[in-house]
Amino acid sequence: MDFLDFRFDAIWSYRELFIRGLWITLGLTVVGYAGGIILGLFVGLGKLSKRKWVYYPAKYYVDFFRGTPLLVQLLLIHTALIPSIVGHSLGFFVSGVVALMLNSAAYNAEIIRAGINSIETGQMEAARSLGMPHKTAMRLIILPQALRRMIPPFGNELIALMKDSSLVSMIAGSELLYAGKVVAGATLRPWEPYLTVAVLYLLLTFIFGKLISYVEKRFSNSYVPSPRKQRLSFGRTQAGG
């Protein structure tokens, strides 16, 4: 095995595929994640509901999407579900986004449920004893605290979703891994294409990681707005401010 005999000229001539793949991976991730959060919110609140006809559908939804492999869901949606509903396929992007969205919504639902449950019951009791209705107490007392606790697992979910989006290559979706597969097949060289793909994924993970840590900082208890944004400096003069 010769590790030092890398030839990246082939990769360069296929750069368009990789660049398009990068954008499509990003698109799948962002759209799928946004949809997953919104849908997950409903399902998560559904799982907290005391009404049976709300609770059980939510529970079965989560059970199904967490209990089956994403690849199976993807193939089901792409080759069976969408063609039989619409009459024809809507392309890999729609199938991919729908699958990623439904899948991550199930995980997000659990994050939301656990986040709300993790707030001590005393908080609700105190709010209720001050005369707040249940809804108001939820909105003003419980949810703001729970939301902060949900941020780290939501961040994990974003990165997990991005990595899972590579499965869309299985339905001929031209994302990052697909580019790697095509180039590996065309050049018969396994190292360079897959290594390139890995590095590009790392790049995306790095960007998302930065974003997540910013959001975490922004919502943390010890957050101090930066001096440049501070309108009132209480008479202290800022150097260079």
Partner: protein, 269 residues
Amino acid sequence: MLGVNKMKWLVRFAVLVIAVILVGCGTVSKNGSSSDGNSEAEAGGKKKLIVGTDATYAPMEYMDEKGNIVGIDIDIVKAVAEAAGVEVEFRNYGWEPLFPAVNSGEVDLAVSSITIDEDRKQSFDFSDPYYIANQLILVPQDSDVESFEDLKDKRISVQINTTGHMVVKDLLGNTSSKIVAAETMPLAIGEMLNGNADASVGDNVVLIDYQKNNPKVKLKTVEDDSFEKEYYGLMVKKGNKEVLEILNDGIKKIKENGKLKEITGFDVE
């Protein structure tokens, strides 16, 4: 059923691993060559070759109901082995892992409808051709496509990294977004049926087989003389003369005694 097979395989694998470790830890081997891997074992005095394949390509190589690897390619290799006086054992690797497996010596040869082409010749050695294949275009019944040129502005689905994929890349450009490269030929045809592609390009034998198995699907095949005839070969690690000679010897014999024609239905020069 599957459990027993799996067990057998596991036992074999374990034995292989132990053998590898023993060989690896042993002193310098007699002939001092360790060019090809540890897959060669003497089986009852006969040399045994491990054959890798991607058994997802009916009718050339695929899995039957019992999980055995079967197909035209498999029959040919069995006939070649018989003629050359060696034993063979088939292993399913999948298309992409097949190439590194040949390179590392995990398998002695690969048979998987592999077209002999210049690119591949740079990294691997091929036996004499044993099969001629031709690309076909598959389109919906009401399509007006009559030649390959007509596909210039259309979306075409292919099986990823097959010859069909290559010819379509030549037509539409290496990085064209109109190429829908699916994992398997049935999936590629599915993409066309579901409206993600206007045509499919693939090997004659596979498309004809698909039509045979799915008579209800309204499709037609279009032939185009511009497609070059392709020759399938058995692929071995570059420089593995020993195995290559055995294979060529076997292929020559089955060409002469008519066994090859019996299997495929035509002669290969």
